[in-house]
Subunit: 191 residues, 2 copies
């Protein structure tokens, strides 16, 4: 919880009263590995701040899992499009490892928006960050080679994500065939 | 300007004082067709509200133009990733037809954020809308047929955009070869 307090102080300059209002609305939850927190076809009711663990969002395309996002300690995650539009989720939110998270409901976030412009700012920052993230992923797929996409991934993502996400899941996230990614990793380790 | 006032009243419940603060920061500009308002490699300094006209954003991939967004009367447009992150734009913002716009600078928008939570809300709504838009486009490319993408386009986009954007530019936006889109349009008009 201290970590989240620090992050919010940096992002939106939260004072003690704001923090009290915010933290009262959080629920601490523990999930075992491979738990589906948001199922396909349901509406995402919560935004999660990760205390510890490893999670992913993905969707199914012709029975194949396509990963769309990974997050670990001190990061936010949700099936975001479903959460902000309160419509049915095409994505699944699932733990990869045992995880401890703080849950903030949509209703409580909307209540916070009304309490202070700082929370509107938080909502805007999260939306802008998610926009840049999905745009970067889309553009990378269109304009960069598989090797460059993997090099960007290991440079930009948290070490825990790079080291602990199974390689076939990274391949699905980067839009690379698993055997091609294995070859790229060998090339990089040799050079 | 009245149109923008109405839209903001609906979106964020703007009162007269807020509207005064906001409208004082707008600059009305007229651009001829085919004017590059934001050039590739520059930083987008402004968000635009369109009074009348037709605009697009696009980037160059191996010398080919890839359209990323179209907007017309009563809509917002910018090379948005460059605008919110104040980094160099990979996109170009260009008028398709003669256009009249109201320009709001990044500095003025940041000043508005500090004045009222309503403007933070506006920033959040625009960011969320843009997130859903880029996600929908990416997913459509991955999961829908060319015909379905075109049917969605004519259903969801403003009539002015559907009727007046040249067909080769719609094809580039939808990721369809121009000759395939011509065939699809013939199929639809026959059926």
């Amino acid at each position: 919880m201290n970590e989240l307090h620090k992050i919010l102080q940096e992002l939106i300059g939260l004072n003690e009263i704001d923090w009290g209002n915010f933290s009262n609305k959080l629920i601490r939850k523990e999930f075992n590995a491979k738990t589906q927190i948001v199922k396909e076809g349901s509406v995402a009711q919560n935004l999660y701040f990760i205390e510890s663990g490893l999670l992913r969002t993905y969707y199914l395309l012709d029975g194949k899992e396509i990963n769309t996002y990974f997050a670990c300690d001190k990061q936010f995650i949700s099936t975001y499009s479903s959460f902000i539009s309160q419509t049915i989720s095409y994505e699944i939110l699932e733990t990869i490892e045992d995880s401890v998270v703080y849950e903030l409901s949509y209703q409580n976030l909307v209540a916070l928006y009304k309490e202070s412009s700082k929370f509107e700012k938080l909502g805007r920052i999260i939306a802008e960050k998610n926009y840049l993230c999905v745009l970067d992923r889309t553009l990378s797929m269109q304009t960069k080679t598989a090797k460059q996409r993997y090099l960007d991934f290991i440079k930009n993502y948290d070490k825990k994500i790079v080291q602990r996400i199974p390689i076939h899941q990274i391949a699905s996230f980067l839009g690379i065939a698993p055997e091609s990614l294995s070859r790229i990793r060998k090339e990089i380790s040799i050079s």
